[in-house]
């Protein structure tokens, strides 16, 4: 109740969804958008931050159209963006399997999987363009898995009852990214894209209320530089590393979108994080990241724990009738293939009951012995060989012999910068694509949908919608001598100097770990008001301590990884607080956001559609004041809101 008092007046956001029937919105919109004539396109510059699926595909496509594109990534090559690590696959409503799939079914599954917290029009468009993505990737030479007849193979994935997932062994992400990266390389060779690797965006620059550029730091020389453009796209991925331990890459960070948030872009649904059910459990305090085992493993692996609490026998010594295949028991229709949030929460429940396995008791078994008996070792190894190998490398155990131990881990953030139907944030000229936007996944993302969304945004949505914006603005350039750039550069330098000068006693990693634990314990798989209140206070204190006691080393003008980390963790701490605020205000459970106070008697998420069928878009109001809540009401005109059931 105290909460409600704190939240200032609510603004309703307009998502600019085109009129007309759902299936015709995108076609109609594509016709209605304004175009920049081919000869004029070369007069416009576009900055793209991030070179993953969304960034690279957008950059290549925009450059093909004729715009001048500058791409920035913090890694040493565009190919290393974290999209590369996606394993399982990419969904597309091709219905190649003749199993009843359609654009509408993919749309429906995604809306339902997202627990009715996504925007219908966006999701429908996503399902529509999904079919083009596969065509595009194949044309680029992406080696998808094929059947003996030479046509593309599909597999099924959590949350769907059709086989619509295209895959490339266990590294679909790498293969799709290499496709986008090759298209990007082609444009670099043509001189239409200028690539800036090892360069991190540290601020957004606005001129006359529009996004007109960014300030960057070169990670080898420390050189701080401004870049101007007519539009800026942030495709910088998710912020799962706010939890310290996640399946994200070590460098994945929120800095770009956070600094944009502080310049006026609203942050949508920050508390919606996805906890992936099948990750390799934590083995010790030194743990730096968690490794995901593709969800596709749940096609053949059976999840179980011992029926008895505290059963410390080895897996092979536990007889069949003393095992609890809890997903199959509770959800006979979907079995081990329930959506991620459901699978994760049930694993946590089993462990909370004291039935977890392994030395820490924070793991459940994923058992392939039945699949091996049924299909033979060869077939299983053909499907999952590289995943099994990876598991063996990390744990030192052979999953062909003993069941894998898995535990949920933070994997994806459905939240992100709020964007309208055109993927534009609340800052004119600033776009967000891929995981960086609050996206099409509602409160929970289905497996194999992240790759789809990243590429849909980059290849097929942004190139139209950015054109619409540019067509309505003059081609005149703003130079980086503009006072707005100078001011932003000065601020960036001052912040770095401030960080370097604190010279406290705690390292950045120590702060990061502390933040991560708070987030995991109080804003993780299950949340409650009391815990969130507590965490909020702790995070505020942590932020104060960070700015008075953090320890960095050296100078700015050098390759200095302590500066990189410090800037990112400073932003994570602030974001953590906003996530907690968001989780606290959303008095319902939906998808990945599970508030313990709001659950059905069977421990399922209990939504409150009357009060919370909206996107929470948070607005920055200053360093020491509460963020302001704005709402985008979600209208469901085509699907009926029901209690999700996978039984």
């Amino acid at each position: 109740m105290i909460l409600d008092a704190k939240i200032p007046e609510v603004v309703t956001l307009d998502a600019k969804i085109p009129d007309g029937p759902l299936a015709e919105k995108w076609e109609k919109h594509k016709f209605n958008v304004k175009l920049v004539n081919p000869a004029n396109k070369r007069k416009y510059d576009i900055i793209i931050v991030g070179s993953g699926l969304a960034g690279a595909s957008a950059a290549a496509t925009l450059a093909e159209l004729g715009y001048n594109v500058k791409v920035f990534c913090f890694q040493d090559s565009a190919r290393r963006a974290h999209s590369i690590a996606a394993q399982g696959g990419i969904n597309a409503a091709k219905n190649y399997q003749n199993d009843g799939d359609s654009v509408y079914r993919l749309f429906y599954d995604t809306i339902k999987g997202g627990d009715y917290r996504a925007r219908e029009a966006n999701v429908y468009r996503l399902a529509q363009v999904s079919v083009n993505i596969i065509d595009q990737c194949v044309a680029q030479g992406v080696p998808f898995a094929r059947e003996y007849g030479g046509l593309l193979a599909n597999r099924s994935f959590g949350g769907a009852q059709v086989s619509r997932t295209f895959y490339a062994r266990g590294q679909t992400g790498q293969q799709l990214l290499l496709g986008a990266y090759s298209a990007l390389n082609r444009q670099i060779a043509y001189g239409k894209v200028q690539m800036f690797p090892r360069t991190e965006m540290l601020d957004l620059v606005m001129v006359d209320g529009k996004a007109r550029g960014i300030v960057t730091r070169h990670l080898v020389t420390g050189h701080i530089e401004s870049h101007s453009a007519h539009a800026v796209v942030l495709a910088t991925g998710g912020y799962g590393n706010v939890f310290y331990l996640s399946t994200n890459a070590m460098g994945s960070n929120t800095t770009a979108i956070w600094r944009a948030y502080k310049k006026g872009a609203f942050f949508g649904n920050p508390c919606f994080t996805q906890i992936h059910p099948t990750c390799i459990p934590v083995s010790g305090e030194y743990q730096s990241k968690l490794t995901l085992m593709s969800e596709s493993l749940r096609n053949d692996g059976r999840v179980w724990v011992p029926k008895a609490k505290g059963d410390k026998r080895l897996a092979k010594d536990i007889p069949e009738d003393e095992r609890d295949y809890f997903l199959e028991r509770k959800y006979p229709a979907f079995g081990n293939l329930v959506p991620r949030d459901v699978a994760s929460r049930n694993a946590k429940l089993a462990c909370d009951e004291g039935r977890g396995v392994g030395s820490t008791g924070l793991a459940v078994y994923l058992d392939f012995s039945d699949a091996i008996k049924r299909d033979g070792l060869d077939k299983v190894s053909q499907k999952y060989g590289n995943l099994f190998e990876m598991y063996a490398k990390i744990t030192g155990e052979d999953p062909y012999q003993t069941p894998m131990r898995i535990y949920p881990a933070v994997h994806y953030t459905m939240g992100g910068l709020w964007v309208d139907y055109n993927l534009m944030t609340t800052v004119p000229g600033l776009y967000a694509a891929g995981e960086a936007n609050f996206s099409d996944h509602g409160a929970n993302r289905l497996g194999a949908s992240a790759l789809m969304q990243g590429l849909a945004d980059g290849y097929f949505v942004l190139p139209y919608t950015i054109g619409d914006y540019l067509a309505q603005m003059p081609a005149a350039k703003v130079t980086v001598d503009h006072p707005a750039f100078k001011e932003a550069e000065t601020n960036v330098r001052a912040t770095i100097q401030k960080l370097l000068s604190i010279n406290g006693t705690k390292t950045v990693d120590e702060f990061h770990k502390e933040l991560g634990l708070l987030m995991w314990d109080y804003c993780g798989m299950a949340r409650n008001a009391e815990g969130l209140q507590y965490a909020k206070g702790k995070i505020q204190a942590l932020r104060k301590e960070f700015w008075s006691n953090v320890k960095l080393y050296g100078v700015n003008e050098d390759m200095n990884q302590t500066i990189e980390k410090a800037g990112r963790v400073a932003d994570f701490i602030e974001l953590g607080e906003l996530m907690v605020t968001d989780a606290l205000h959303r008095n319902e459970s939906c998808g990945g956001h599970f508030r313990e106070e709001y659950q059905t008697p069977e421990n399922e998420a209990l939504r409150d559609d009357a009060n919370f069928a909206y996107v929470a878009a948070w607005e920055y109001t200053g360093p020491d004041s509460e963020a302001r809540l704005n709402k985008e009401p979600l209208a469901f005109e085509n699907v009926k809101l029901t209690q999700r059931s996978y039984k």
């Binding site: 496509t61 093909e64 890694q75 040493d76 090559s77 190919r79 290393r80 974290h82 590369i84 690590a85 091709k94 190649y96 065509d135 595009q136 990737c137 044309a139 680029q140 030479g141 080696p143 998808f144 094929r146 007849g149 030479g150 593309l152 590294q171 790498q174 990266y181 090759s182 390389n185 082609r186 060779a189 080898v220 399946t247 890459a249 460098g251 083995s283 010790g284 305090e285 030194y286 743990q287 730096s288 990241k289 995901l292 392994g358 030395s359 190998e389 990876m390 490398k393 990390i394 744990t395 030192g396 155990e397 131990r405 390292t507 320890k551 080393y553 050296g554 050098d558 390759m559 990884q561």
Partner: protein, 261 residues
Amino acid sequence: MAGNNPNSTPMNLTLKVWRQKNAKTPGQLVTYKVNDISPDMSFLEMFDVLNEDLLRQGQEPIAFDHDCREGICGMCSMYINGRAHGPEKGTTTCQLHMRKFKDGDTIVVEPWRANAFTVHKDLSVDRSALDRIQQAGGYVSVNTGGVPDANEIPIPKSIADKAFDAATCIQCGACVAACKNASAMLFLSAKVSQLAMLPQGKVERKTRVENMLAQHDAEGFGSCTNIGACAAECPVGISLENIAMLNREYIAAKVTSENIV
């Protein structure tokens, strides 16, 4: 905390790590002691522990490249005890675990060494030459949109699988690091073969191989003398068959392409 293995006794190790301020300053090996290293730690987690110690003591942490820590981004790049990515076959540095070492071991860690890879700092090197090789032709020239249906051209599974094998290259540069000649031929061949095998890539196969090899040579990489160290040390098992295919592609292109300059 107990690890995954019952017999995970902590280890004490001596590290000799290459420290180099920047590309212009010569570097040297510096000795560090690390204690209580769990066998379940990854090699890079052991470096994290060392770096935290250094920082607390007011010393400069060691710069090294890493990102995904699951063996796919290709960013990690350490030459460990005379081997690219260390002693375990088919494994990147980030996936190498300390259980591969023994208590009391001395481990020497150096950056990838090749003139085409300049050292940025300590263990971090510049591998942008590999990007430039791909920019010279490692793509199929199709624009977004207007492509045929994905199932229009069937591709035999055996060919799709072989192309996939080549496509698994993670561009880490271990092949260059391990090669006596600092040649990037295994990397180049993986890229050329993947596209040359697939119908979509066949259209530009001649210009592709000519341009990509020219870029490879211009970057200052050495030539392949079929030693095979690259394939032996490749963390994803790219095969030497790709280099044979590259040679074939190159010979055929030079003999038959329209390019006469």
